[in-house]
Amino acid sequence: MPNLDDERFEKYLKQFRPLAPDGLPAEIRRAPRRHSALAIWAVGATAIVIIGVASLWIVNDRITHQSNHSASVNLPTRTPSLTMREANELLVKAPSYKAVMNELAFPPKSSTTSNDKQSALAMLSEEKTKL
């Protein structure tokens, strides 16, 4: 038979309700999912950056390779082609046949440089004058 006093006392005790704990932080609760999503995004972004850098590097490498190649190929074509008309003009103007041949073999170099390029010798000479 149950002790009524005990029962009443138990009921009295139950009127005191235990305090609730602080809530679980929502960000911790969803941390595993967020971490996995972040990891996927990070891996994707890293892959895109790596691919971008690699493709840029390859394209740059090809461009420099092509420019080097075209520079080496174009070198001989820099010498102007001699036409019959030009040859006749040179023969008329030049004092002698030997002078014509010299001019054709060793064309005068232009001393002018483009705006964006400077002669290293000119720069050095300027430095000397400053000193």
Binding site: L13, Q15, F16, R17, P21, I28
Partner: protein, 168 residues
């Protein structure tokens, strides 16, 4: 709803339903609110990490067992049990804060094994069989500890309660 979300929702609901009694049980063992709170949070965060509770046949008893282990491990790690702090454990009826303090002190004055049994039975609403399984004793032992505990609580509390009742 995917199984992961389902599991999170179930753990959330268990936290809301049993959180207060689990915190009280942790307080009854540890004596200090922050330590008790940490233990309850630790248990639920571990559950959220693992993602399911399906292996536990009796979820409520399992949660109390987890909290008890967490607290005892922490006490063992610190090699001490904290003295009872002054923070409230209960939401008292009719703003009876003096009664709350008396109850808290009376519970704290009980021996460890009786204190755990009384909290598990009154506020955890576990049967003596569940309590016996949890504490590793027989259900009869759990029941007798409860009777002793209840008697002591009554002795400690009722003189003051009676005086309060008479004054009303």
């Amino acid at each position: 709803m995917d199984p992961m979300q389902e599991s999170v929702a179930e753990i959330d609901s268990l936290y809301r339903e049993h959180g207060p009694a689990l915190l009280l049980f942790a307080l009854a063992i540890a004596g200090e609110r922050s330590q008790a709170q940490d233990a309850v949070h630790h248990v639920f965060l571990r559950l959220l990490e693992k993602g399911d509770l399906r292996r536990a046949s009796d979820k409520k008893a399992y949660l109390f067992g987890c909290v008890r282990n967490a607290i005892l491990n922490e006490c063992k790690r610190q090699d001490r049990q904290s003295p009872l702090d002054d923070s409230a454990w209960f939401d008292p009826p009719d703003q009876d804060h003096a009664g709350e303090q008396n109850l808290r002190r009376a519970i704290a004055a009980l021996p460890d094994d009786q204190r755990q049994v009384v909290v598990l039975h009154v506020w955890g609403e576990l049967t003596f069989s569940q309590i016996g399984d949890l504490l590793g004793v027989s259900s009869n032992t759990a029941a007798s500890r409860y009777r002793y505990a209840l008697g002591k609580l009554r002795d400690l509390m009722l003189p003051r309660e009676n005086s309060c009742a008479e004054s009303r």
